[in-house]
Symmetry: C2
Subunit: 512 residues, 2 copies
């Protein structure tokens, strides 16, 4: 692919040029909001919360105003007529602009405001309700939010010619519909439950992982994380690593900020979170530099973004080659503080740690084999709630039944059941599937990468991640939203998204 | 004073209510910009600079658009008619709104843009020119910036009925004119040069300060700073302490962020910077909570702000009572790392360190006796440059002559001469006097505080800063911009700003 060039403002046709200027302004507001959000989670003292929330809300409202300005729609109409003189990136950019405008204009300001308020109230209530295992308290704030989400889905759907749920999914996964997800989840639903049985049986025959005991000072964990991030290609001139309650990847593509959390008694989860977020960060850092302030410069969907974090975390960093590479580094990092001479610290044992499968109640702690079952449960329930087929009051019961069906276990409390995730409490519906779309795409893309570059795994074992990063940049990162996620996956791997690769990956890793 | 109440939006008359909503939005933009600026100086990796600068510029432009919206002026006219039903704080708020609108509307957008660009170019050039002692290189970018500053002053002056220099000073010191500053500086000019001679003579007779040698780990310095900030009344639930190249106080009044820099071989300057910035921070933290998102909720001028940092740093923290309090804490903080048993660590020697007077070339390193002379030189030169009486090319020579006249020393390079400060390079004219207005006000206010609360110094010696903070909140902080700086000083001290207190303070501290 030719690196995407960008014409200067003076070379652009007038209407399209004016559009770029307005979307640049929007990207500055969004970027400012991203930094404020990162700061909230990492730096902000508690007393700043109220003002900060108001600042972020104002930036969002002003961004919405940019997108719903009637003059913008006129500029788009005029820019369509200028189309003949456009390059392909400008055309793709105009397409993405239209998409953003259409979605924003579909939503009346009062609905956005009502949704935002209901979301704020419900999130606050959820925090308390989860802590106190109080579903009834949550439901009180969740009912009105769900009503607003339905209105939002209907308004978006009407404007886009989609069903309400399709319209909500489209917010995170442009172009993906319920039908596609249903097909994929049906296939995984036929495969996974039996496969989990097989894996657990297989696992029970092998040796149990020896515990990785010791004290792991935060500074040593941070230094190791830093070293691995650099090895993977993270550029610390354009990003940071910090600490937050929940790991995330934030900031802007020229200043990517990932976070993790450290446990001095258990280094493994914090380190894996760093590797996961580094996958996200490499996508952001690899987006087309010339187009970062325009819609076409952003990633095309959350599933593809998740595919990059899971490709790094699951495909690469839990793979044998990476563990061969990282094992001596782990020992070196902690040797001054902990006895790392025993068998627990051999690569084979680390591998067992990073590949333990278990039926568990909490999604964020789940392994890659059972994770999609957590997602499928949520997808089924949110679909039913949106359609009105499942009443909020019946959610806890439906959750317990679903867990029993998908995973064969039953939560004893709502805290470890339907109150565990923040998503619904902040009005995010249709988002969960992206995690599994990402996992499936990650397997398919890593398969394609290793077919294109057969020496890639061995290079990883040597700590050389350049061939991997080059392949990802060439096939995924560098395109921004020039292509859709589906198109990118097809072009990079030679076929449409296909669960076969994910299934093959799981079989190979967990049954051999 | 009654704590300022605030009426809810639904209780406000319509035009004034609409104004509050617009200014609230402006305050969110400004607050977001403040956080982005803090992040730039403390956290941001270099690669983020370009995008960040663009984000900040966009927030500024959008703030300017709010202030120059013709509908806003109409709202102000209608709000004037609603005035009868207003409380005094609403009236004061409307007055401050008018002030901000008038100043913004005085500036054509093209001039603001030209000024901003010239400023960006000149600042970059200045960084290089200072490093390379290249005045000619600086002058090339400074000439066009100076022209824009003149245009800015003229445009502002025309709108406000002021001379261009008065209009620029008014940006930092509302209501203060050249005339007032001239009178003050004339008085100090008659007093200080001879006084410096006297002090140096007096100082030469006493013992030389013994060096404070040792290693002072950053973590120990930080912990001490934290402890002193808390003692002074800084609330870490509403603020932070971090590191930056140049110490500053930033953030927003509900999330005040101060910075310092640490030197492992010399703890004193970093600590004093913390105390100085804490003075600024206490002002921000004490502003009227109910009005923080409105113009009346902000400090009324830079000089009064500086008076609070200098009151804490110079009046309080270099005073004998504070040194009695802090001496054992300093010893305790560094005892694990350094031998603090010698005579160098006695209070009398610390006092000598914090009160050494010297004729020196660099303003930011100057003591409180010679500091105003540095300011007076700059004020004289910027006045002459603006008026066209001093050509840019003649600035280095005029600087050397001025230094010789005011301080009796001559810089050998422009690096340690007219290139040392960033202010002119970023188009800040009429700002320097605020430092000395602040020093003079600090002496007057501290004198008033100790007359109102005679036990105040002794309480400081015991580490109890509550009487001081309460006096400051009651007399200064809690008013925001309800009164002007001049009115506040007069009300708090019983008389207009008067250099007599500053002179008395210097005589007492440096000649007895």
């Amino acid at each position: 692919m030719t690196p995407p060039s960008r014409r200067g403002p003076e070379e652009l046709p007038p209407a399209y040029g004016a559009l770029e200027a307005r979307f640049q302004r929007l990207s500055h507001l969004e970027g400012a909001g991203a930094v404020l959000g990162w700061d909230w989670a990492t730096m902000m003292p508690e007393g700043g919360a109220e003002t900060r929330a108001a600042q972020i809300a104002t930036l969002e409202v002003m961004g919405h105003e940019i997108l719903t300005d009637p003059a913008l729609a006129e500029l788009v109409a005029r820019a369509e007529e200028e189309l003949a003189s456009f390059g392909p990136w400008e055309r793709a950019n105009l397409r993405e602009m239209r998409r953003k405008i259409k979605r924003a204009q579909a939503l009346p300001a009062e609905l956005v405001e009502a949704y935002t308020k209901a979301r704020g109230r419900c999130e606050m209530r959820w925090r308390r309700a989860r802590a106190e295992d109080d579903f009834a308290g949550f439901a009180e704030a969740f009912e009105p939010l769900l009503a607003r989400v339905r209105e939002l889905g209907t308004a978006l759907g009407d404007a886009l010619g989609l069903s309400p749920f399709d319209a909500l999914i489209d917010s995170h996964e442009p172009g993906i519909k319920v039908e596609t997800i249903d097909t994929l989840f049906d296939e995984l639903g036929r495969f996974l439950p039996g496969f989990v049985d097989e894996v657990l049986e297989h696992q029970a025959k092998g040796p149990k992982p020896l515990p990785l005991e010791g004290t792991f000072p935060i500074e040593a964990q941070r230094a190791l994380a830093h070293r691995l991030m650099e090895a993977l290609g993270f550029d610390f001139d354009s990003g940071r690593l910090d600490v937050s309650e929940h790991p995330f990847c934030g900031g802007t593509p020229s200043d990517v900020r990932i976070t993790t959390r450290y446990d001095e008694k258990n280094f493994a989860p914090g380190l894996m979170a760093v590797l996961h977020e580094t996958g996200h960060a490499l996508f952001e850092l690899g987006l087309p530099r010339a187009w970062l302030d325009q819609p076409v410069g952003a990633a095309p969907g959350m599933g593809l973004h998740e595919s990059q974090s899971l490709l790094v975390e699951m495909q690469v960093c839990r793979g044998s080659e990476f563990i061969r590479f990282v094992q001596p580094l782990i020992k070196e990092a902690f040797a001054p503080h902990t006895d790392v001479s025993g068998r627990a610290w051999e690569a084979a044992n680390l591998e067992r740690h990073y590949r333990t499968v278990a039926r568990s109640l909490i999604r964020v702690d789940a392994d890659e084999v059972t994770y999609p079952l957590h997602v499928m449960l949520r997808y089924r329930l949110e679909k039913a709630m949106l359609a009105g087929d499942l009443k909020v009051a019946d959610l806890p019961g439906a959750w317990v039944e679903g867990m029993a069906e998908f995973l064969g276990i039953r939560p004893r409390t709502d805290q470890e059941g339907c109150l565990q995730d923040i998503h619904w409490a902040v009005g995010l519906f249709g988002y969960f599937p992206s995690y599994t779309l990402g996992a499936v795409a990650a397997a398919q893309l890593y398969d394609a990468a290793t077919r294109d570059e057969p020496e890639l795994p061995e290079r990883i074992a040597q700590g050389d991640f350049r061939p991997l990063l080059e392949w990802l940049r060439k096939n995924i990162h560098g395109f921004g939203s020039f292509h859709s996620s589906a198109e990118l996956i097809r072009a990079a791997s030679g076929r449409p998204l296909d669960a076969a690769f994910f299934k093959a990956h799981l079989k190979k890793r967990y049954l051999t």
